[in-house]
């Protein structure tokens, strides 16, 4: 036997293979004809077998050998994928997982499963499916080959000080070397009518598909309203097989190989790209990435200090170098952040499996749909999300969905729907778990909450808050609240996990039509763009993405000195917090205070501050346990001059604002 450390290496390697294996099996359940997926499953098994034997997992290797044999039969056309085969294979998968974990399951199982696999594949020989696999889209998330971007800026763009070249540079920075730009000159007027200062040209830019839509749109963030912008994703003609070198000849003879007529260079580039997607993966211990992130944080801080000193000295040469370092530091920051970003798809296999198992155990038929699994999140966020999502999906199926009979009775399609969707929204990621089941019973929840002492008979709590009660610890236990469909079993785990990620959770539910759990999570826990503000003599940071507007404080409000007030903004009343008063700071306020409008969860609050200092790179440091109960601050950061500044928690401020509004409404009534 090998030592524990080598075995650990094998386990880590096998983890990715196992994920691919399970994913492949689940895809085969829906598209049993997809030979490419069969080949993928076969390869994963083959590699697990090979490395398993090498690392001394002999029982595992011999079992996988038989497992592999079953798929060899499918691959060579001697057998077809049947639902039974997938089911047996999934059970076999579990056995492998158990063996990998170091467990010691009953050896009889090996033989039993081997026999079952055999039976499932030798039952009847069927002709190999010769047709080209159709639904390959399911095998891998539709891969975006490239982005085709066309944009035209307003004609007076340069006159008002804009610089299209800078935009193109920025696009190049986003997209790397492979960005190509073509000038669109079709709107050029005859030379006699040409205004020398106007911008007539448009631009057509091709960017690599690896970059995210948001990154491209960000370049035009301040102009999108006034310009024409067309961004279309060009999808790959073929879904890239996990290992293209081997796939075509081994598995899918009918799969479109790169046409020979294609220009040589392009073919090579394509092959390269596909190869890099499959091969150039580096598994790095997570704490090393954390370490790099810390160092980069330090660098960004040191850089800010350097910039502050250089600005004082006003030395041209020094300023030049500082600018270079600034650019490098920011680049390094972005690449390091990218290192930490993990697509949600990395944990989706688990949920597909879960839904498969749930369908088996509950006898409910439903489609499990995943949208936006390419959405990337900080790896810590992704890791901590797994458990809560498992909980919520299980709840949606267990308690949200009705049985096929009940659905038929209610006039709904018998097949239910559970959808997991993820998308970016500003500095947040929104994840929704949607079911089209029976919905939540508000009255029952109210009753239960009163029983549990979470609210009183006469409390006037809005519906949205009542629904959230199911997330309270000890709200319900499984057997007691059948009427309520038992939601809330362990749901406090969900709440806890989401809160520990600085996220929030909302529930909407329509009786008879289903329930939606909406999670909002910060994109990253490491570095944000901050707006630095001054209150009394201290500086504080606000996440810039939450800042909607900065205004001079209106005369009328300047006189007040209570901590709270309201301001009318675009015909809407926005609650206002005077930070000086909230922080109990005495002394004379600034002569020209400003009001910063910040927003979260679709609501806004105005913050009265003494001054706006500017934007900065805010490296978020967690507050120590001594201060972590102060909800108004989400963390601290180190400024260019080495001082510490606190980061204001926008979500909390908005909640405070809402409380003010409620109270004012109460007073008015």
């Amino acid at each position: 036997m090998m030592d524990a450390e080598t075995q650990e290496i094998f386990r880590q390697e096998a983890e990715a293979l196992m994920e691919a294996l399970q994913e492949g099996l689940l895809v085969l359940k829906d598209t049993p004809d997809d030979l490419e997926v069969v080949a993928g499953v076969f390869r994963a098994l083959h590699t697990i077998k090979g490395t398993g034997a090498m690392f001394g997992f002999s029982r595992l290797a011999s079992f996988v050998h038989n497992f592999e044999a079953a798929f060899e039969a499918v691959r060579s056309g001697k057998a077809v994928v049947t639902p039974e085969l997938v089911n047996v294979a999934l059970t076999a998968y579990d056995l492998i997982a158990e063996l990998l974990e170091g467990g010691d399951p009953d050896p009889a199982k090996d033989a039993e499963l081997t026999a079952a696999l055999n039976a499932a594949t030798t039952g009847e020989a069927a002709p190999a499916t010769a047709a080209a696999p159709a639904a390959k889209k399911d095998a891998a998330p539709a891969k975006i080959e490239s982005w085709d971007l066309q944009f035209r800026l307003p004609q007076d763009f340069m006159e008002i000080g804009g610089n299209p070249i800078a935009m193109l540079d920025e696009l190049r920075e986003v997209g790397g070397d492979s960005v190509s730009v073509r000038l669109l000159t079709d709107r050029l007027p005859p030379i006699a009518q040409m205004d020398p200062r106007a911008l007539y040209a448009g631009f057509q830019v091709t960017l690599p598909g690896t970059i995210k839509e948001g990154a491209i749109r960000d370049v035009f963030m301040f102009h999108e309203d006034q310009m024409e912008l067309n961004l279309t994703a060009v999808h790959a003609a073929e879904a890239a097989a996990p290992a293209p070198a081997e796939a075509p000849k081994a598995a899918a003879p009918a799969a479109p190989a790169a046409p020979a007529a294609e220009p040589k260079a392009e073919t090579a580039a394509k092959a390269n790209k596909a190869a890099s997607a499959a091969v150039a993966q580096l598994r790095v211990a997570a704490d090393r990435v954390d370490l790099i992130m810390d160092r980069v944080g330090e660098l960004v801080i040191a850089e800010a200090r350097l910039a502050a000193i250089a600005a004082q000295l006003q030395n041209e040469a020094l300023l030049g170098v500082v600018e270079d370092i600034q650019r490098l530091a920011l680049g390094l920051r972005d690449s390091t952040m990218a290192l930490r970003m993990t697509p949600l798809s990395s944990i989706m296999g688990r949920f597909r499996r879960l839904s498969h198992d749930l369908a088996e155990t509950t006898g409910k038929t439903f489609d499990f749909i995943v949208e936006g699994e390419e959405t990337e999140l900080d790896k810590t966020v992704v890791e901590k999300l797994t458990d809560p999502l498992v909980h919520m999906i299980r709840n949606s199926v267990d308690h949200g969905l009705e049985t096929p009979e009940q659905r038929a009775e209610a006039g709904k399609p018998e097949r239910g729907l559970v959808k997991l969707s993820a998308r970016h929204a500003g500095a947040e990621v929104i994840i929704e778990i949607i079911d089209d089941g029976r919905g939540m019973n508000e009255a029952a929840i109210r009753k239960r909450a009163i029983e549990r002492g979470l609210m009183t008979e006469d409390s006037d709590i809005p519906r949205s808050e009542v629904l959230k009660m199911v997330l309270e610890p000890g709200f319900s236990t499984a057997e007691q609240v059948t009427a309520l469909s038992g939601r809330g079993v362990g749901a406090d785990v969900v709440k806890q996990a989401i809160e520990s990620l600085n996220g929030s959770i909302d529930i909407t539910s329509e009786p008879g039509f289903g329930t939606t759990f909406c999670l909002r999570l910060p994109l990253t826990l490491a570095i944000i763009e901050g707006l630095l503000i001054g209150v009394a003599n201290d500086r504080y940071a606000l996440p810039l993405l939450a800042v909607e507007q900065i205004l001079e404080l209106p005369e009328k409000l300047a006189k007040g000195d209570s901590a709270t007030d309201v301001i009318e903004l675009n015909n809407e009343l926005v609650p206002v917090l005077r930070l000086r008063q909230v922080f109990n700071r005495t002394g004379t306020p600034a002569a020209h205070p400003k009001i910063v409008i910040v927003g979260a969860n679709d609501t806004r609050v105005g913050l009265v501050v003494d001054e706006i200092i500017g934007t900065n790179q805010t490296v978020i440091k967690q507050l120590s346990p001594l201060h972590s109960r102060l909800k108004i601050f989400s963390g601290a950061t180190i400024l260019g001059d080495g001082c510490v500044a606190l980061i204001l928690d926008v979500i909390h401020l908005v909640t405070l604002g809402q409380e003010i509004e409620q109270r004012l409404k109460g007073n008015a009534a």
């Binding site: 801080i301 201290d538 709270t564």
Partner: protein, 167 residues
């Protein structure tokens, strides 16, 4: 040695203590929980954090909280001056490691305390809240208080309610 009963854990730690001053009183802290002594850096106050929070400091890129124990000991709070130091303490509180600064009005020396001079804290007539001191002792012919930092942080500082109200 009967009078030193109950100090078995403390006595070996008295070989090396840092002697410092707070509210005019002399105090001694075993150096096994002391990481370093800093001159007063820029201190960022934390609004709404209660009287025991002196603020936050940046030590080589790490943000640390600084506690002010004087309100706890019912001592007058003297303005920070050239003598003010921050003792950086590393200890375990509620089974989690905690690094925290503590304001000292002056730091005198690293010293050794004679275990023979240990005395229990009088139960009445002292300003020290229950459980905040290990014992009293004598050093350089003066009384010196030996604070129990773990107790202080576990039962007093970490419990401080820190809610912000907008009223």
């Amino acid at each position: 040695m009967t009078k030193n009963k109950g100090y078995a854990d403390l006595i070996p730690r008295l070989n090396s203590v840092v002697a410092f001053e707070m509210g005019g009183e002399l105090m001694a802290l075993p150096t096994d929980v002391l990481r370093e002594v800093l001159e007063l850096p820029n201190l960022t106050p934390v609004p709404c954090a209660g009287p025991f929070s002196a603020g936050l400091i940046n030590i080589r890129g790490v943000v640390l909280p600084v506690a002010d124990l004087r309100p706890l000991f019912r001592m007058p709070v003297k303005e920070n001056d050239r003598e003010t130091r921050i003792l950086i303490i590393e200890t375990t509180v509620h089974e989690k490691s905690l690094t925290v600064g503590v304001i000292a009005e002056a730091v005198h020396a690293i010293a050794e305390i004679d275990p023979e001079t240990l005395r229990p804290v009088p139960a009445v007539g002292t300003r020290w809240p229950q459980g905040t001191l290990h014992a009293m002792a004598r050093w350089n012919d003066q009384f010196v208080a030996i604070p129990d930092v773990v107790q202080i942080f576990e039962t007093h500082i970490a419990q401080e309610p820190q809610l912000v109200s907008v009223d």
